[in-house]
Symmetry: C2
Subunit: 405 residues, 2 copies
């Protein structure tokens, strides 16, 4: 086990109708005037934004609105949000939506507290020590999509225009003060977006589970517990999107998958996220869909580096027989994972995602490794990343000799 700090100070208000407490939560955490930030018109049409407004008014919280956040949130809207926040003198940013809205809100919170400056805190993986964020407005969340875990995380990812580079900021100052989590708000989410959310939270667990650190029994067991829950409750939620209990289990799992309780005490990986971010930046595909393509390819490529670990994953998450040898159990586990993703209606190949094999050199280039490696479980070079992209084009490349073989 490695030494670690763990801090997850967000107040989670979970359950039916909890959004009615939004105004008093903003006040409790020091807000007097909020920027109410959200995505498309459905939040308005559903009446949710109206209920939030009522709650803010009841608590005596002033507010200005800014909608229009898109998936893979854009820097131009962040700039507009910062301008509004500073002009209007808001002291709180309230995100109503999923990961993109929350990440956009965190960027606005940085900009508004640093004289408009926020871009320089968003960096690529070539920067080993992230610039410290000196200040940020407090952020609160009303969550409507179970997926990204940004409601409890210290991170934010923004698409920097005009180059469409996905870049990340991080720091405990970005952890939301509160998150209102009403599973009812996720019941109308269409199946494809629901499935993308499941893939995203499962990926957050994999990035922590596939670690070179030994003797982390508790974190291992917790990871597997959340993974099993996502697989089993995910199947229920796909079968019936109005299953409150399944929606509730999935919603809470999305938070637990990413507030780092499942990562405590170990080196993490994050290669799949890095490899995927280039896909969603270039093709504007859903992050979860990109992960469904990348993760099994990454697993296939690296599993020989620690077949015992992949065998444990196969047995404890997908119920692969304990009697099989590690190598065959590992492969059976990866195949079971693929089948689960397929059953959710997610793409498994470049073609299904709308990505192109001829773009692989460009994808590797924009990943911007600059001679460094990617990942904590296995350290991937540019050559390795290109091979993983090729596995996404055609899983038959699985026959190739992977890393660690």
């Amino acid at each position: 086990m490695t030494d670690f700090n763990f801090w997850s100070p967000t107040f989670f208000a979970f359950g039916r109708g909890k959004e009615s407490q939004t105004g008093e939560l903003v006040r409790r955490f020091g807000g007097t005037k909020a920027l109410l930030h959200f995505g498309g018109k459905s939040a308005v049409a559903s009446g949710l934004i109206g209920r939030i407004e009522t709650s803010l008014e009841s608590a005596g919280i002033g507010f200005v609105q800014l909608g229009g956040v898109k998936p893979n949130p854009r820097s131009s809207l962040v700039d507009e949000g910062v301008r509004i926040a500073m002009a209007e003198g808001v002291d709180f940013v309230l995100a109503v939506g999923g990961g993109s809205v929350i990440d956009s809100s965190k960027a606005i919170a940085i900009g508004a507290a640093n004289g408009g400056e926020w871009r320089r805190f968003y960096v690529g993986r070539e920067v080993k020590v992230r610039p410290a964020i000196p200040a940020a407005l407090p952020v609160g969340v009303v969550l409507t999509i179970a997926a990204a875990g940004s409601e409890g995380s210290p991170n934010s990812v923004i698409n920097l225009e005009p180059e469409n580079l996905k870049r990340a900021a991080g720091g405990d100052i970005l952890r939301p003060k509160f998150a209102v989590m009403n599973p009812e708000l996720t019941m109308t989410l269409p199946p494809f977006q629901t499935a993308c959310g499941l893939a995203d939270m499962f990926a957050h667990l994999c990035e922590r589970y596939f670690s070179p650190t030994k003797d982390v029994a508790l974190t291992d067991n917790l990871c597997e517990a959340v993974m099993r829950t996502v697989v089993e409750e995910g199947a229920k939620v796909m079968a019936n999107g109005r299953d409150y209990q399944a929606r509730a289990n999935i919603m809470w799992a999305g938070t637990i998958a990413h507030n780092d309780i499942c990562g405590a005490g170990r080196v993490q990986d994050w290669a799949s996220h890095g490899i995927e971010h280039e896909l969603s930046a270039l093709y504007d595909c859903a992050h979860g869909a990109g992960l469904a393509v990348v993760m099994p390819a990454w697993m296939t490529y690296v599993h020989k580096a620690d077949a015992a670990r992949f065998a444990r994953f196969a047995r404890n998450v997908f119920g692969i027989g304990a009697g099989d040898g590690d190598e065959s159990a590992a492969l059976a586990g990866i195949e079971a994972f693929r089948r689960w993703l397929k059953s959710l209606g997610l793409p498994l190949t470049f073609a299904e995602l709308g990505a192109k094999a001829e773009d692989i050199p460009l994808l590797v280039k924009t990943l911007n490794l600059r001679g460094n490696t990617l990942g904590g479980f296995v350290q991937l070079t540019e050559t390795d990343v290109a091979a993983i992209y090729r596995l996404c084009v055609d899983p038959r490349f699985a026959q190739e000799k992977g890393k660690g073989a």
Copy 2:
């Protein structure tokens, strides 16, 4: 799943040598002058208190000392601590020790911030709505015993003298600001105290796991994950008290078992804790030892109320064969639990604990149910509690018809 709020804002600094950060953590969380509160002379003799003093001095934090906390912490020492804290104008209480020291520190933190008043916030279970605690000094922890989970919890239990009544206070204001957790500090803990800690954290999980609430898949899976870790890593730590990795897993498990991540979304029980508290109050036995006697008796008495749940516990925590029927699996699980407690060297009966059958009426009386019931999984009357105490005297009473049969 029930609606819930979850808030665990404590900053956990975990790993080797982390106590050297104590002073800067006190300062980070607003302290300038601390009451340094601890237990016996071993903390001084080991050099730990000296290292903490050095860390406080380096950070420019003033401090006064108060040692002498005993297990089942006494109100008289709390009174002394409050007097010192107010006279010296301390603005922070720093607990160096285990659950008793932390609970005593929380009581002092209340008293010092409320003009000396702290007792009225400590009440019995006859009080359905706990009095709100209007203020408390911030509390920090350097943990030396993995057991009570008080380093992350909002609770405190004090032995009120002269009657020796165990009474509890609770409120988020009592959650420690930080907890320094260095597993090395627990390596010299004797086997019996180590075992008591394991029983205590396992009980914290059971009180949450045995719930009448259905459809809480994630919390169920998390509970079982921590239970399995405590059983397996507990065996390792009893075999070799200097096994850093096992000590580390157990130490983190003690926190996770009680910061309520394993209780989110469900009605909890807490009958075993109530029944045990009367034993440690009357006989001044170790809380964990009392729990080792009470828990299997409670399980035996109530298991018929939901044999399927006890069967799941047996299968997922103790690996009882899936083929057995629920009733026989349930009984096999309780027996496996007993064997595990026995293997830790813990008592299983009144006689081994030093308790007396003739005191049962007194124990039931001081439990003070006043016609109410105890527990959330099965609601126990005074008659039921007396029957559970009789099972602690002689487990053959297991043949009795239990609750819910």
